[in-house]
């Protein structure tokens, strides 16, 4: 489907964006955990036609994930508790990275249960030419604070970002946890500690119940909610961050069409990531690029960057 829409769109100028020191072909990236290490998606997506992809979050050492069931479906979304499963930083660099086509833009995602682990992983990854940027996933339980997510406490988040910043050479993005009272505060902390950009949002903590078993549907109890169900929450958070900071924002949450992507751009996102929609249709990212191009051409938008943050004030403020 997306193939036809895409013909002739390679490097269409109106879609090019500058994002946190990166020159992106277009603002459409794939979200971590929904695109594997990129290689798995090559049969479905031309990696050189999308803005780039964020690889599955990596820990220093390879890790196994949770026991099944790991996923469940809910209205307009899904729950997941994959946990830390990944091949580890070294295997990513040695086995996965060299296989990714040259023109594809790769963002590595990092997580850990201690700050020192994040720092070491970022150091190692930022020495790799093929890694265009590092996104730190702050939705991981901080063991020393009794399991609260790094991204849920401004002080811990600040410490994490500060320390990672000093050991990371290139572009550093911080992916915020939405499981907080005030997302803008977290965005400000990231900006103050030297992040080049923020990715907003990760999955929302959630629970669903198997009535027959009177138990959580997931082995792990709680899971992360993603998909179209979270889009309005994510939009709200992107908008609030946009008011609060001047570093660029990558919008994430329930995006499955060019229209969804445009909403995020209007709310202040310079780039967007597509997550769960990759499962619904593995060609989603490419199709969204095609849809954005059509929109720009139909509406005579010279550069999609001109739309960033152009959300009009609500009606009651105008009248």
């Amino acid at each position: 489907m997306g193939r036809l829409l895409m013909s002739g769109t390679v490097d269409a100028e109106c879609l090019m964006v500058d994002f946190a020191g990166l020159r992106l072909r277009n603002p459409v990236l794939a979200a971590s955990g929904t695109f594997g290490y990129g290689l798995e998606m090559q049969s479905y997506v031309d990696l050189e036609k999308i803005g780039g992809f964020v690889a599955k979050s990596l820990t220093l050492e390879p890790r196994y994930g949770n026991s099944p069931p790991r996923i469940a479906e809910v209205s307009s979304g899904m729950l997941n508790s994959i946990s830390l499963e990944n091949v580890g930083v070294e295997a990513f660099i040695r086995q996965k990275l060299p296989e990714v086509p040259q023109e594809a833009l790769v963002i590595a995602s990092v997580f850990g249960t201690e700050i020192a682990h994040y720092v070491e992983a970022c150091e190692r990854l930022s020495s790799e030419d093929r890694v265009a940027a590092i996104e730190i996933n702050a939705s991981c339980p901080h063991v020393k604070s009794g399991g609260i997510e790094f991204g849920q406490n401004a002080q811990i988040l600040g410490k994490l970002v500060g320390q990672v910043r000093s050991s990371t050479v290139g572009t550093l993005l911080v992916k915020l946890s939405p499981n907080v009272t005030d997302i803008a505060e977290m965005a400000r902390v990231c900006e103050a500690e030297g992040a080049d950009g923020i990715s907003v949002i990760n999955a929302l903590q959630a629970l669903d119940v198997d009535l027959k078993e009177r138990r959580s549907v997931l082995w792990n109890g709680l899971g992360g909610l993603s998909g179209p169900a979270i889009l309005p929450v994510a939009l709200r958070m992107v908008w609030q961050c946009f008011q609060a900071v001047s570093i660029p924002i990558c919008g994430i949450g329930g995006i499955s069409s060019a229209e969804d992507a445009l909403k995020f751009i209007l709310c202040g996102a310079q780039a967007i990531q597509v997550g769960t929609a990759n499962y619904l249709n593995p060609c989603s990212t490419e199709a969204i690029v095609g849809g954005l191009l059509d929109y720009c051409q139909e509406n005579r938008v010279g550069s999609i960057q001109d739309l960033v943050g152009c959300l009009q004030p609500p009606r009651w403020k105008v009248s």
Partner: protein, 272 residues
């Protein structure tokens, strides 16, 4: 290189196979990679433009029951044999001829070939039988093939008429005794293996059935492939949602990518 994009397909028919089972006939135009028996597709009962509005949202894994040539000669026809168990399969049931669906595939690892090809036993229960039909058809052209099928009642045995049309030995077991032997299909396996030289056993059905089959095959040191079902989101190895345990300390395998067909010895049956 995008070689296996998701594809729009057209419903040709959607008819009852009896016993609460249905057969969805889909025409896929254009190139389609040849599937091997045991592979599956991810099927969304809506056109690609409707994904984000569909409820349920995620595509459903379905075995490729049978493939056929199209009347025009280009593209392919695939049959999906299914049972309505929830919202996704209810949507499939509601689809009318001419409506559009989306399919990704063929996916996963299919059945391995029988080693020395002397004889093969296929054993299926419930909708698991859908994974076995193509394999039975092809095997029956090459070696002695015995198929054992089971269900609650005679009517519920998926695709029995189709299996009867193949040149193989078919035995059925029903729990109500309405056809064949009275009891579980696994009860037929030991005596079958007693009577024939068998180089491979293939099974697909409920986990309890496959566990039993795996144990019987192991006792006789006969290689055994099982086709496993699990919840899936992507079907292509990127969500890590379909992982199953490989046994204590051995980590996980992905049903969609490493399976759905596994050598039964590789699985951690106590945790399945």
């Amino acid at each position: 290189m995008t070689s296996r994009p998701s594809r729009t397909c057209t419903v040709l028919s959607n008819e009852s196979m009896g016993g609460g089972n249905f057969c969805l006939r889909l025409e896929i135009s254009g190139e389609w990679a040849r599937s091997s028996p045991g592979q599956f597709v991810m099927l969304s009962p809506v056109a690609p433009s409707q994904f984000c509005f569909s409820d349920p949202l995620l595509p459903r894994p379905m075995a490729i029951y049978r493939t056929d040539a199209t009347s025009s000669g280009s593209g392919i026809v695939i049959d999906v044999a299914y049972k309505v168990v929830g919202r996704g399969t209810a949507l499939m049931r509601a689809a009318l001829p001419g409506s559009l669906m989306t399919v990704v595939g063929p996916l996963g690892q299919g059945f391995t070939k029988p080693g020395d090809g002397i004889g093969a036993v296929l054993i299926g229960g419930g909708t698991g039988i859908a994974s076995l039909y193509e394999h039975a058809r092809i095997l029956s052209e090459h070696c002695r093939t015995v198929v054992l099928l089971g269900a609650n009642t005679a009517e519920m045995i998926l695709g029995r008429v189709d299996f009867e049309g193949l040149s193989l030995e078919l035995h059925v077991a029903t729990e109500d005794g309405s056809l064949g032997s009275h009891g579980l299909v696994t009860d037929l396996l030991p005596s079958t293996l007693e009577e024939m030289p068998c180089s491979h056993v293939y099974a697909c059905g409920p986990t309890s059935m496959m566990r039993e089959v795996a144990a019987i095959a192991a006792r006789r040191r006969i290689p055994c492939d099982v086709s496993i079902e699990n919840n899936m989101a992507c079907g292509i190895g990127v969500c890590l949602g379909c992982a199953i345990p490989l046994g204590e300390g051995k980590g996980f395998a992905l049903v969609c990518k490493d399976g759905p067909v596994f050598d039964c010895r590789t699985l951690g049956w106590e945790d399945c």
